[in-house]
């Protein structure tokens, strides 16, 4: 049954960040503007502010990830919060404790915020439905569904290099079907008014109803990249070769990998983005990843500021 969006308070403020879908542009822009302030904090010697002093933030990672977890940890510490990292793989989950029991136990340890990554779509929503009112949930990636902080830091990056959104052509390339990053990017780009969002992939890697999300579909990289301002490459996981989705990494790289020749089809000042970690030689050529149009490293820096912004907005509501 359809209920009110669980991530907003009754007066429309952000209580949890579970998905970009359903958030008004004003909230997305608030995150970007607040993140800009945190970027300036990162440029001075004391990179901390006292905003979340005394708050306990638990990183609940049911799916392993060093880079995302580290970014959230740095962001939380720069807000002066106390951080606890839980790789739930190795602890109570293996003893058969249910997801909700784990959350309940941690809540009893005075957690104020959970940053959750899980292999199942909807896990963050499930947790958010069951935590007490004062606890906030941030989705660090759930199955194929959403990775909202990644999309926000990518929007921040785009705004940094392209100033605005309403004149852009953006292409997302790769395994859209399995990608929570792609789904969140699409929602963010369309909400912020990007007039043309393209997805480029072989049919096996496209959700059947992806057009209903407001994108144009291309099966050939050469056509899809023509005149785009932003190229977002997605990571291709090696398992995809096993499910009859793709024949080989080599063929994928030859026809869907971003090389200098393919990039040349985009606008000359197009930027190249990747959520990381990269598979060099599978979805992206090293010369492009390290080239002058790549903004992949700045994405990482911005990622800390954006996560600081998300945590500070959410924890105050």
């Amino acid at each position: 049954m359809i209920a009110a969006s669980p991530q907003l308070t009754a007066d429309g403020k952000l209580r949890h960040l579970l998905t970009i879908e359903g958030l008004p542009a004003s909230i997305l822009l608030q995150v970007l503007d607040t993140a800009a302030s945190f970027v300036s904090v990162a440029e001075r010697e004391i990179k901390k502010v006292p905003l979340l002093r005394g708050k306990a933030i638990f990183n609940l990672f049911f799916e392993p990830s060093t880079r995302t977890r580290t970014t959230f940890e740095i962001a939380a510490k720069r807000l002066s919060a106390d951080v606890v990292n839980l790789n739930v793989q190795t602890s109570s989950q293996t003893k058969g404790e249910s997801l909700l029991d784990t959350v309940a136990n941690l809540s009893a340890m005075h957690a104020d915020m959970f940053v959750v990554r899980h292999s199942q779509s909807g896990a963050a929503h499930l947790i958010a439905r069951h935590v007490s009112p004062h606890i906030h949930v941030i989705n660090a990636g759930d199955g194929r569904h959403a990775h909202p902080t990644q999309a926000l830091l990518d929007m921040f990056t785009i705004r940094h290099y392209k100033t605005g959104f309403n004149h852009l052509r953006v292409a997302i390339v790769g395994d859209i079907l399995h990608s929570r990053v792609a789904r969140s990017e699409i929602h963010a780009l369309t909400t912020l008014g990007v007039p043309e969002v393209r997805v480029i992939a072989p049919r096996t890697l496209l959700p059947s109803q992806v057009r209903s999300m407001g994108v144009q579909v291309y099966n050939r990289l050469e056509e899809g990249l023509r005149d785009v301002d932003v190229v977002m490459m997605l990571r291709l996981q090696s398992e995809r070769m096993n499910g009859a989705l793709l024949p080989s990494a080599e063929e994928f790289f030859k026809y869907y990998g971003l090389t200098p020749e393919k990039l040349a089809l985009a606008k000359p000042d197009a930027i190249v983005m990747h959520p990381g970690p990269m598979n060099r030689g599978i979805e992206i050529d090293s010369s492009v990843a390290d080239g002058r149009q790549s903004v992949i490293l700045p994405q990482v820096t911005f990622g800390i500021a954006v996560r600081m912004a998300v945590m500070s907005i959410v924890a105050g509501n």
Partner: protein
């Protein structure tokens, strides 16, 4: 009868002028304090670039009110270490904004001194904070807010508004 903010501005400039040296760092507090600081900076011809800070991340009322809807980046381009700083705000009231601003400045470095300049001191201090330079001192009832505004031409003016509950 509220004083003319432009007149106060001129008075403040002259009060500070004897004490503003070549190595003085001016830091304005968003938003009204920055307007006042911009005028001071131009009139005093200071060498170091104007610093601006938004105290949103240092406020003491975050638990009650959450994060402000719009936060501007803080921007201090000069080195705070060993620099005498003049901190500038538009209306000095409880002193909590100044407390937050000082904490933020100390996260940039260790100034040799901080002096406080305010266009208006309306009393009502809740912390032991004292201004060094003031345009005017006013008595304003607690039910009212004293606000500095700036028009399109850059002219400053003071306004009294009923405090919303």
């Amino acid at each position: 009868m509220l004083p003319d903010a432009e007149a106060l501005m001129l008075a403040l400039i002259e009060r500070i002028r004897p004490q503003a040296g070549p190595d003085t760092g001016l830091v304005g507090i968003h938003t009204g304090g920055v307007w006042v600081a911009q005028r001071l900076h131009a009139a005093l011809g200071l060498k170091l670039p104007l610093g601006t800070i938004d105290i949103a991340f240092y406020r003491d009322d975050y638990k009650k009110k959450g994060l402000a809807a719009s936060v501007r980046p803080s921007d201090i381009r000069f080195s705070v270490d060993n620099t005498p700083i003049i901190l500038v705000d538009d209306v000095l009231y409880t002193g909590r904004t100044i407390r937050a601003a000082m904490n933020e400045i100390f996260d940039y470095g260790r100034p040799s001194s901080i002096r406080l300049a305010a266009l208006v001191d309306r009393g009502g201090r809740q912390l032991p904070i004292c201004p060094d330079y003031v345009g005017a001192t006013l008595q304003v009832p607690a039910t009212q807010t004293l606000e500095l505004q700036r028009d399109a031409a850059g002219r400053l003016s003071l306004h009294l508004l009923e405090r919303r509950a």
